[in-house]
């Protein structure tokens, strides 16, 4: 039999994303936003922390394309600078969730029994604890800052993530190739690293994208308790929070960051959906 043409798995994934209309659009928009995050500081028309005393809370104009905020800073520039901050916070938060959640979920699933019981009870406790209490506590211990907001968001989503990963890992654990691997004498950690983790990557990728979306949303909610980025660092969630009291007087304050957040979360979710679809052909397309 002649060898079949093979595409590298990595490119294949890219290819599959590009095949789907919504996914492609989302991917391009997201890419665009990431690029903005990288080059934002160079293309921003103003200093994001500079106050223009003569221009407090002005609507969009030629000089200030998206208007100014209540202390006279250019919203466009703040948004451009804020892209990087916002995305970093979300990505780092999810990274925390990802590492801890995967570790806990896989360990729990693989070892089962007592280990599983204890870990899952702890997850239960964390799940039953209102997120805001947890967030406050974390900030209390570590002090308020953007990094700690990240940590708080990261930690508070660990239980949900770990439980999802656990159930994914459980189905892999009972698969034939794990038993086969045990039968040839591979060690537990070898099996976890080489048999289980590679086979939950699909699930991991999908959940991670979905969690990125909610992490961004949570950042904006954490602004409520002053836990976001420390001023004058521009960050979308904080900007949205600042602007929400002025919806009727100055719609542009909240609208632009709000729309930006929604777009990012939306595209990330769309991408997550597409990935889920790609990895699980039966459930979707």
């Amino acid at each position: 039999m002649q060898p079949k043409e093979r595409t590298e798995p990595r490119f294949e994934l890219m290819h599959k994303i590009m095949q789907r209309k919504m996914a492609r659009l989302s991917f391009i928009v997201l890419l665009f936003i990431i690029i903005l995050g990288i080059i934002g500081p160079w293309i921003a028309p103003h200093d994001p922390t500079k106050t223009y005393y003569e221009a407090f809370m002005q609507g969009p104009s030629k000089e200030f394309l998206l208007g100014t905020d209540s202390i006279g800073r250019d919203i466009l520039s703040r948004m451009l600078y804020g892209t990087r901050v916002t995305l970093t916070v979300a990505v780092m938060a999810v990274a925390i969730t990802f590492v801890a959640g995967t570790l806990l979920g896989v360990t729990s699933a693989y070892f089962g029994g007592m280990v599983d019981n204890i870990l899952m009870r702890i997850m239960d406790i964390l799940l039953a604890l209102p997120g805001i209490v947890l967030a406050l506590a974390i900030v209390a211990v570590l002090g308020p800052s953007q990094e700690n907001a990240m940590i708080a968001i990261g930690i508070s989503s660990i239980p949900a993530f770990a439980i999802l990963i656990r159930s994914a890992a459980l189905s892999i654990k009972s698969s034939g190739y794990v038993e086969a691997s045990r039968s040839i004498g591979s060690s537990n950690w070898w099996i976890i690293l080489n048999q289980i983790i590679p086979n939950i990557t699909n699930v991991l990728i999908v959940y991670t994208t979905l969690f990125v979306g909610s992490a961004i949303l949570e950042t904006s909610a954490l602004g409520f308790i002053g836990l976001g980025a420390q001023p004058p660092t521009p960050e979308w969630g904080t900007m949205l929070n600042e602007g929400k009291d002025y919806l009727s007087e100055a719609w542009w304050l909240a609208t632009f960051p709000g729309v930006a957040i929604t777009i990012v979360v939306f595209t990330v979710n769309m991408l997550g959906d597409a990935l889920q679809d790609i990895f699980n052909p039966r459930g979707g397309r």
């Binding site: 034939g176 086969a180 045990r182 040839i184 060690s187 070898w190």
Partner: protein, 319 residues
């Protein structure tokens, strides 16, 4: 007689069925006191209906699951007493081939990596690995080019060859094959059976061949154990069993095989009912509710596995 390669004595495996935290658990008697000996170079077939404990027996024999009680004597030593290290070493000598070639190969790994896994686990030096892998892959009828591919790029038969290569690569003495061909098409099945037979000759392998397909077992096995509800009810030389089964269950089993000649009529014993639940088996001979030759004693007394005409059978008819 030579010393057996593997001897299983009184092997039991009970799976607990959890009820409540404060209640006595009840048990599934998946394997219920099995005694079997296997000699070097022979093939022992194990047949029986689904759920009768064939796979559990196979897994217990290489301590993939820990038996509840009994002895497993491999080359004269009871491996149940082995430490983790010793057991690991012994694993080199006992390998397994699994039923489902679609499920037992990790889809994320190349064949190269799948085959190197046992070598790494048993610390075969890396310079020897590649040689072994290439050698083995050719032995099972594939070639080097296939090594860089993933499992999904192979047909069922080819995957099963890879599964066999994985079992073979450490050059074990005993291979436990748990329904290795039942997921395969008829035309592919014969290829794999031939391959297994060839390998047996080439490497002086000993097989425990688990299957529910009697014609396959008839073809490949030297001796056959018939299991029913966790117990061996007949253990006989293949020729004897297929010509003249003694246990009524074995008789029924054999007569149930459809014949591929429409004119060849035979007396068929249609069993009543299904396999009873292994957690709540009937008293006496476990087969008695479905047996066509059931006597009063069968309902009360468990028959023992006894030698009759050189074979073993557990039935009151022969006492």
């Amino acid at each position: 007689m030579t010393t057996p390669l593997l001897e299983v004595k009184g092997l039991k495996k009970l799976f607990p069925i959890k009820k409540g935290m404060f209640q006595q658990p009840s048990f599934v008697h998946a394997v219920n006191g099995v005694d079997i000996t296997i000699h070097k170079g022979e093939t022992l077939g194990v047949v029986g209906e689904s759920g009768c404990g064939k796979s559990t027996l196979g897994r217990c024999m290489m301590r993939l699951i820990e038996p509840t009680s009994g002895e497993i004597i491999f080359e004269g030593q009871d491996i149940r007493t082995f430490s983790k290290r010793d057991m690991h070493r012994t694993r080199r000598n006992i390998q397994m081939v699994f039923q489902n070639p679609f499920d037992t190969l990790n889809p994320k790994l190349t064949i190269q990596r799948i085959l190197s896994e046992p070598l790494i686990a048993h610390q075969i030096p890396s310079w020897e690995r590649q040689k072994l892998i290439e050698e083995t892959i050719e032995i099972v009828g594939l070639n080097k080019r296939h090594l860089s591919r993933y499992a999904h790029e192979f047909s069922g038969g080819q995957r099963q060859r890879i599964g066999i290569a994985r079992a073979l690569i450490l050059r074990p003495k005993l291979i436990i094959a748990d329904e290795p061909v039942s997921a395969l098409d008829v035309s592919i099945q014969s290829q794999i059976l031939n391959l297994l037979q060839d390998l047996q000759e080439q490497f002086a392998l000993t097989y425990i061949f688990i299957s529910h397909d009697l014609s396959v077992v008839e073809h490949i096995a030297d001796r056959v154990a018939v299991m029913y509800l966790g117990e061996v009810i007949e253990l006989a030389k293949k020729e004897d069993l297929f010509r003249n089964p003694m246990h009524p269950y074995a008789q029924a089993l054999l007569s149930a095989v459809p014949l591929s000649d429409p004119d060849e009529k035979k007396e068929r014993i249609i069993l009543k009912g299904d396999l009873p639940s292994p957690s709540n088996p009937p008293a006496g001979c476990k087969f008695n509710p479905r047996c066509h030759a059931c006597m009063d004693i069968c309902k009360t007394t468990v028959p023992e596995l006894k030698e009759v005409d050189g074979n073993l059978v557990a039935c009151h008819l022969y006492s």
